[in-house]
């Protein structure tokens, strides 16, 4: 328990900042127009200001109440990101079969619950299932294998 609700304070301030930044950028770069003939800048400025106001409505009351601690889990975040970025890099360079295998197996490392053997079997199963569904079944134009060498 924290003496202030820092979660909402930070979230609200973040939204306020985003709103002010968007409104300022749109206001200085895009034509505002008039009320009867609105330019492209009018709506983003109005939305940015409104967002900033709601951000304050979230953060200000949070100053006066207690809050919970927020726990960020870095391991799944990093492992999942690598797993997804790996997919994006592999899909067109080496094909869907290795990409799916890598993504599935690597994603299991987010937790320590799955042993490597089980992960490899899961990866093989997923690879087969996606190959059967997307390549054979739906006939998507994705290469199954596309070795660069």
């Amino acid at each position: 328990m924290l003496d202030r609700d820092y979660r909402d304070i930070v979230a609200g301030l973040g939204l306020t900042l985003a709103g002010v930044a968007a409104a300022a950028y749109a206001g200085s770069n895009y034509a505002m127009g008039t009320v009867s003939r609105m330019g492209p800048g009018m709506m983003p400025v109005a939305l940015g200001v409104t967002l900033a106001a709601f951000g304050l409505m979230i953060s200000v009351p949070a100053l006066f109440r207690k809050g919970d601690t927020v726990v960020l889990k870095p391991r799944p975040l990093v492992v999942m990101s690598i797993s997804i970025i790996g997919f994006a890099l592999m899909i067109e360079t080496v094909g869907i079969v290795p990409a799916v295998f890598f993504t599935t197996v690597f994603a299991t490392f987010s937790e320590t619950r799955v042993r490597l053997g089980a992960a490899l079997i899961l990866g093989a199963g997923m690879t087969f299932a996606t190959w059967a569904l997307f390549i054979v079944g739906l006939n998507l134009p994705i290469p199954a294998f596309d070795w660069p060498f």
Binding site: G12, A26, Y30, A31, M43, L51, A88, V100, T104, A107
Partner: protein, 508 residues
């Protein structure tokens, strides 16, 4: 009878072998994904969304709709057997469904849920086919001012009424609208917030956003967390499926009331199934002669919200299809799917594309029928699926999201955009900000802006001219009342309540 002719046309469209197949595929996949604990309808639909891109519009929508009510049904299964609701609308199903399962009546509960879903769904479909043409005809007279005001009401209602913190819901709607301004401005052709990037001119895709926010965001926050509870295998045992005579006698009236409440609430902007189920449950408890049975496995407490849920699911299509205004984030996804296929829903849809509209309506019925025949024999399969541990499921879900994101435009960079939205979704979960209003704002934002700008041109820049129009003015005043009332009551609740952020775990 024009209606009968239309229904016949719809039936003709819906029962073509391909459409029937896609309806079946949608219902099956929807139930399959919906059963997975913690995967709500939004996550399930956004995951399966890309599968429909390659179909023709009618088949795509039929399959999507099948996915939609399949997930709702699957969600109830998880609620009854494991007490883990997949969505807010199935949280009420837990209240009496899970106690029934604990008493060894899981089979009965699932059977009645299936029947109740079908009955409620059918009721909703009848309402949908009776009222849609009327509303569409009436809406033909609507101008930009009316559309603008109805969308404002929808956005305000959806972000405030069902949210514990209305200011957060409203902030998310506005943020969604702001994100939607990225890209080429439809009126002036100016690229906004593109920072010189060509690919940003197209703006963000709705599927990338939904998959990131609800799919990846969901996985990121559930992985590595403590699992809620161990699966109690004994409660998943189905001893007897057939309800007793007493069950039937108790159920039919609550079913009827639930259907009516659901059908009415579902059609209103911004309310949708989650409010319908709470209301249906409350009404049953209030009218019951034995309210103490509720929460201890009362069959009325299961049937009423289930019928309400499914009736509301169907009538939610009324504003989406006849006005082009989705009432919930789920409907916003449906609207997005339609627009990807080049269809702009609105009052002319029924007249211009009768086979699409009525084909869809009839496919709802067939889908509900399929749910009935699919689920009664397959309950055993769904139960077994529930017993698969999550750590084997999430890598599979992740792969599906990646392939889905890639296949939309065959562009690997889209996968990274989904990852980016996944980070946003995870951060929002940490900050306790609701993601559904963000999606709704994102879909409605460009429409609100276009209609508002048109309305202001017509009103020569005089906003009071919009307020003086009877329908637009009334709806705007109503939106203001909802806005003020929810914000004030949230403040009062906080003042009065002992501690709103009461936490179940201690701060050790």
């Amino acid at each position: 009878m024009e209606l009968l002719a239309n229904l016949a046309l719809g039936l003709e469209t819906a029962v073509t072998p391909t459409n029937l197949l896609f309806c079946f595929a949608g219902v099956f996949l929807g139930t399959f994904v919906g059963v997975i604990p913690g995967v709500g309808p939004l996550a399930a639909i956004s995951m399966l969304f890309p599968l429909t891109f390659y179909l023709d519009p009618t088949a795509a929508l039929i399959m999507l709709a099948g996915i939609y009510y399949g997930t709702t049904y699957g969600g109830s299964t998880a609620s009854i057997l494991l007490n883990i609701p997949g969505a807010t609308s199935s949280a009420v199903t837990c209240l009496d469904g899970h106690p029934m399962a604990k008493q060894g009546r899981a089979g009965v509960a699932l059977f009645m849920t299936t029947i109740a879903s079908f009955a409620g769904g059918s009721f909703g479909i009848i309402v949908l086919s009776l009222f849609s043409p009327l509303i569409a005809e009436y809406a033909l007279t609507f101008g930009p001012a009316e559309y603008f005001s109805l969308m404002v009401l929808g956005l305000v209602a959806a972000s405030t009424i069902a949210n514990a913190a209305p200011s957060k819901g409203l902030a998310m709607v506005v943020l969604g609208m702001l994100v939607a301004t990225v890209g080429t401005d439809s009126q002036s052709g100016v690229g906004r917030f593109t920072f010189g990037s060509m690919s940003l001119l197209e703006g963000f895709g709705i599927s990338a956003m939904a998959m990131g926010l609800f799919g990846i965001g969901e996985i990121l926050s559930s992985v590595g967390a403590k699992r809620i509870a161990k699966v109690d295998k004994s409660s998943a045992k189905l001893l007897n499926m057939l309800p007793t005579k007493d069950d039937w006698r108790r159920s039919w009236l609550p079913g009827l009331r639930g259907s009516s409440i659901g059908a009415f609430i579902g059609a209103l902007p911004g309310t949708g199934p989650s409010i319908a189920v709470f209301m249906a449950y409350a009404v049953e408890k209030r009218t019951s002669k034995t309210p103490e049975r509720f929460g201890n496995g009362a069959i009325e407490g299961l049937v009423a919200p289930e019928t309400a849920n499914n009736a509301a699911d169907q009538t939610a299509f009324i504003p989406t299809l006849t006005l082009g205004i989705p009432g919930s984030a789920t409907m916003a996804l449906m609207l997005g799917a339609l627009m990807i296929h080049g269809i702009q829903p609105g009052p002319t849809l029924i007249v211009d594309q009768p086979s699409l509209f009525w084909g869809l309506v009839m496919s709802f019925w067939i889908g509900n029928l399929l749910l009935l025949v699919l689920n009664l024999p397959l309950i055993g399969l769904w139960v077994r699926l529930l017993l698969i541990p999550y750590h084997f499921l999430y890598p599979a879900i992740l792969v599906f999201l990646c392939i889905g994101a890639y296949s939309v435009r065959a562009n690997p960079a889209d996968v990274l955009v989904v990852l980016g939205f996944g980070f946003v979704g995870y951060a929002m979960r940490l900050a306790d900000l609701p993601a559904a209003p963000l999606l709704l704002g994102f879909v409605l934002g460009p429409l609100v802006e276009a209609q508002f700008r048109r309305a202001m041109v017509l009103a020569r820049g005089d906003f009071t001219a919009i307020l003086e129009r009877p329908i637009a003015g009334t709806v705007l005043v109503l939106s203001a009342i909802v806005l003020i009332w929810t914000l004030v009551s949230a403040v009062l609740r906080r003042r009065r309540g002992p501690n709103p952020t009461e936490e179940p775990s201690s701060d050790t």
